[in-house]
Structure formats: C-alpha cells, structure tokens
C-alpha cells in the first residue's frame, strides 16, 4: 500500500467526494488560493475550481451559518475551521442551529454538514489556539464527532462524514498532518462509530483517540520491552456515536483500564467513559479506572512546559504502571 501523510489522506478524501457528489463544496478561510493554512486543501482549487472550493472571509459565524442554511437545501458543505479553537465564535451556529434544527423541526430538516480542522495543543500557540472541544461538541445530541489518529482512519472517516446526513465534526491534529501511514489506492470507507484495536494485549487496556493513540503505542512498546506488560490500545476514532462495546470487550480481557485523552479532566470524554465502564463492566475491573489527560490549566505557551502539560509517552508509561499497581 502507498505511504501517504495524514494531510494527503484528508485531501484525497475530499477530492474523491468532490468528484463523486456535485453538491459537495469546500468552504473556509484560505482553503483555495492560499492552499490551506495547513495545506490540507492544496491543489483542490486548481482541480475543482472556485465554485467548489470557496475562500471565505474571517467570519466563522457567518460562513458556518451559511453552510447550515445551504445544507437545508441539499448542498453538502465541508467547512474548514483553520483551528477548531475558533468554534467559539461560531458556537451559536454550530450548536444551536446545526445540532438542533432536525429536532426543533420535528425531523423535517436535515443538516448534512461537515466541519473539519485541527484541534490540538503541543504547538506553542497558547491558550486561545489549543482547544480540544470534542467533549463540548459531543455533549450535544444531534451531532457526530470524529477524531482520527492515522492517515488510513482520517481518509475513511472523512469520506463517511461527508456522506452522512447528520452534522459531523472532524477534529484533526496539526502535529499529525505530516504523519505517514499506509493507505490503499482503491476507494474505502470507515463507518463512524467503530473503535479500532490498534494493538492487542492482555494486561491493560488503554482507551484513547487522536494523537495520544500514537503516543500510547510508543509507551506500549516500551512497557512490553522493559516491564513485560502487554497493553491493548483501543482507538475510539469516533466520540459520538461511541463504540463502547469494543471498549468493554477489551476490559473483559484485561480487567484494567487507563483512559488517555488530550482533554482537561473535568467533564471530559474520559469522565463519560469511566462512568460507562464501571456501570457496564464493574465486576470485570481488578483496579480503579485511571485517567491521564491534560494538566488542568489553560494551555501554557512555554514549549518545554507544554510538553509536560499534555499527554506524552513518558506520562502515559508512568500512568500505565500506576494503573498496574507498580
């Protein structure tokens, strides 16, 4: 299989869907002439033209609201947020209009939009540009939330998101954009709501998603080599809908759970997972569920300190050992 980057995988997904469905439109700041702030959409304007690849002003509430309105008439907008951190200026459009319109209309209206862009810390851009709002988004019934960790997943999940009739929010990661992985040349889809066991193991389950999947894989290798611990890594891939069954199957196998997320702890995705695991597999647990997330403060700028604020392989390794009681 060809090796391509996470960025290219996303681009290929959009190009294939633009080709397949004439109602798909890419809208966002700098997606066209500039080739994308992170070059995800590079070349799409040249291939598909300005009707399909639309540069917007810096006007998130305006263009996302416009996309919601256009989707009600059958356009399928794929809108790029340069950073998901900017969702806050479009919050009303995303979480009142997109999330609620089907419900408030008694099921008469669909909102088949995709909003995508990076949501991560670790690039020393400070508190305003480092939000990871998957928990806040997924809190709203009516929406779907996807956080891919690999090029293969990014492509297959984004294609499914674009075909979905509900609003889907895809949270990418600037640090992963250059990550290479095997992606088949032939077309494929990954349905939303299916977790993926990225590494099989027997002693400990790490439940995670996004960039911490990559960090957990590195930690798991070290745990195997240096501590003879067999770690299973469950990549959620989709936060809502949530494939809790794959998580529970792993818990029944390992009986110990560490949740790793690039999220602050309070009301995070991990809090929901911990509740569900204890509620549905209490008797399977040999130890309390542990959780490793972002150190609970606004994102710090200082580069060395930010590394320690976020999950990283060494923090994951220590938390895994603590979960094992050693």
């Amino acid at each position: 299989m060809p090796l391509i980057t996470y960025r290219e995988a996303l681009r290929h997904a959009m190009a294939e869907e633009l080709t397949r469905d004439e109602n798909v439109v890419i809208l966002g700041e700098e997606v066209g002439q500039f080739h994308g702030a992170y070059k995800v959409t590079e070349g799409l304007l040249e291939k598909f033209g300005p009707k399909r690849i639309v540069d917007t002003p810096i006007s998130e509430a305006g263009f996302i609201g416009l996309g919601v309105g256009a989707s009600m008439l059958g356009v399928r907008p794929v809108m790029e947020l340069m950073f998901w951190s900017f969702y806050s200026v479009a919050f009303d459009q995303i979480l009142n209009n997109a999330a609620n319109i089907r419900y408030m209309s008694g099921g008469q209206i669909n909102c088949p939009i995709v909003i995508r862009g990076p949501a991560n810390g670790g690039t020393n851009v400070g508190a305003t540009h480092s939000h990871t709002p998957e928990n806040i988004l997924a809190h709203h019934p009516g929406v779907k939330v996807v956080v891919p960790s690999t090029p293969y997943d990014a492509k297959g999940l984004l294609k499914s998101a674009i075909r979905d009739n509900d609003p889907v929010f895809v949270l990418e990661n600037t640090i992963l954009y250059g990550l290479e992985g095997e992606v088949p040349s032939e077309e494929y889809l990954i349905p939303l709501g299916h977790a993926d066991v990225k590494r099989a193991g027997t002693d400990l389950t790490i439940v995670t998603y996004g960039r911490p999947v990559i960090q957990s894989l590195a930690a798991a290798q070290q745990l195997q080599q240096e501590h003879n611990l067999s770690v299973e890594i469950v990549d959620l891939r989709t936060i809502r809908p949530l494939d809790i069954d794959t998580v529970l199957a792993s818990v029944r196998k390992t009986h110990r759970v560490l949740i790793v997320e690039e999220q602050r702890p309070f009301c995070g995705v991990g809090a929901q997972l911990a509740y569900m695991i204890q509620n549905e597999a209490f008797d399977e647990l040999d130890a309390p569920i542990q959780r490793l997330g972002t150190v609970d403060a606004p994102a710090i700028y200082s580069p060395p300190a930010e590394i320690e604020q976020l999950p990283n392989s060494q923090r994951i390794l220590k938390a895994a050992l603590a979960t094992m009681g050693s």
Binding site: A61, G65, G69, L73, D92, G106, Q108, G193
Partner: protein
Amino acid sequence: MSKKSTDKTAAAAKKTTSAAKTGGANAAPAAAPKPAASGPNPSHSSPVNTALSADEKVELYRKLVRIRRFEERSLRAYQAKKIGGFLHLYIGQEAVAVGCCSLMGKDDHVITAYRDHGHAIAVGMDTKALMAELYGKVTGCSKGKGGSMHYFDPARNFWGGHGIVGGQVPLGAGLAYALKYKGLKGAAMAFMGDGAVNQGAVHEAYNLASLWSLPVVFVIENNGYSMGTSQARSSAGELATRAAGYDMKWEIIDGHDLYDVRAKMEPLLRRAREESKPALVEIMTYRYRGHSVADPDKTYRSKTEIEDYQRTKDPINLFRAILQSEGALTDELIEKIDTEARSEADFAADFAEASPFPTPEDIQKDVYWEADNPSQRTSGGRLFFN
C-alpha cells in the same frame, strides 16, 4: 409621557423624515420624498398591486385577519395555561409577513426569528398544526418539539422559526447560497427584528451576501423596540442605511400598508432572482402586545402610543379601507371573513386540545437522521447516552 416613550417618539419622528428614501450602491436616484398626507401612496398603483384580482385582494385581507384571530385565540389559550414557555405575538405587524410572502414563487424561501406565527400562516401552514404545536401536542407542526418560536415547513419553503436573536440570518444567506449554487432563479427572505441588527452574525451575513452576490433580501421588521429597549436606546444611526457599508441596496417600507410592502419588495425580489443581488429593507411596523406574554408592557412605552398606532396605522384597518374604496370588500364579506377566522382559530384550539402529547418514547426521536432511518444507518456505536 415617560422619558422612554419620548425616545420612541423621537425615533419615530426621525423615521418619518426618511421614510421615502431609497439608497444603496445600485439604487436609482431617489424619488423626491412624498409626504404621506399629500395624496395616495404611489405604491398603491404599482403594477404588482394593480394586477391583483378582487379575489386575490380579499385573500390577502383574509390572511391578515386569520393571523390576528389565531394569535388572539392563542393568547387566550396561554392565559388559560394551555401553552408553556414564551408566546411572542405578531399582532400589529401582519402586513409585513403577508405582503412579503404573497410575492413568493416556487423557488423563493423564507426564514425568520421567534415571532414567527405570522410568517407561518402567510406561507400557508395549517393553523391546526400551528396551534397544536403551541399546546405541545404530537399533531403540532414540529410534533411538539419546537414550540412557538420554532415553526418549520420546508414543503412550503419556510425554514423557521429561530430562537436566538439574529442567529437565523446567516442561514438565510445560506438558503440564497444554495439557490445560486444550484442555478435556481429564486430568492431568500431573511427576516429579523430591529433588535437583531446589532448582532455580529447579522453583519457577517450582510458581508457574505454582498461579497458573493447572493439572492437574499434581508428584512428588518422594525417595530421600534428590541424587547423593552427602544431603537433610540439600542442602535446607533439608521438601520437600513447600514447596508451601504456593505455595498448593498436598501429601502425603507411602510409596514402598516400591505400595498407598500408588496410594491417595494417585489422589485428587490425580482432583482435577487434575476440578477442574484442582495438587498436590505427596513419595514416600519409596530407590535401592540408586549415582547412576549411575559412582558407586562408597562415600563418602556405609553399606552397612548399603542392606542395611537391602533387608531391610525392598524394594517388590517388600513387595508380594509383601501379594499372598500376599491370595491373589493363589502360589509357582509368583512363580517364573513372575520367570523370564519374566529371559527378557524377556535377549531384549531379544539383540535390542539383533543390531540395527544408526545410520549417519553418520542423524546429521542428526530434527533439524528440515522436513528430515525435505522435501515439506512451506516454508523455503529451508541448515539444516545444515559
């Protein structure tokens, strides 16, 4: 007269002086202002009005009356505790929705804010379903899930019914975007109140509409008050002329006069459909009731002010007088229309009363398309949590 009503009077006086202005980058030279008292409004003899048959005129009048009787009946139901939440009545503003929506072609679309009963009836929604929605019944237009502020009827090109001030305006630009994208010769009308004009999302929508030449007419229904705050206390400068900053044509319309609404909206809608150009109109109107039923309406305007509007500018009285002078309405017909509208409203209330409430099982329906169409679902995992 209170200080606040003085503010309002000042605002109203200011409006009167500019009421005949038109403007904007694409505007023809403005016609000389014509004082209202100096003769018949030229809008009355505009082709879009003179082309109406007597029957069509009567039907426009009937719609005005049906909206008012429906809302009066809904207010009684609210007072009888049959309706929860808010109830934002449109009484006094009827000619705006009826005038605008009477111009709709098959590819024209409407979106508005929470004072939406008038638009819903104007586009042809069934008053039984509307009243049942207020009662929170499954027979309501949104199955009892939306309530007063959230009426929708996509089959009639009516896209709500939106609760957050100004939040619907970008969606209206999006409807226009979709029309243009699909090559349809239609126009979107995005209604808002005068309280919405200071919201950022509204200005973002203005900019996008003009920047991208979208076929949308933004309609400010200026009833003088954003909730209890007069225009003078909430908005700097004029509302319509803000369009000039976005290089958009604008117009001020007398919303008490249904013919004026039709005469001035029609060319803007035609221009949107044929040339894909946006416009902004400010339609001067007035609401007789409080902002919502929760507004005791005692703090920000005088009773005299309301009574003056009712006596001199009531849109139903004015249109009735015009149609009587044109010979399109007789006393008998006026009486018959009113009786039928009252009966229709009572019938709607009876229908709502007799309808069932949603069940707890209904609460989680209509959330996800996929959950409601399980045979076509492609995703796995749990969509709902407890």
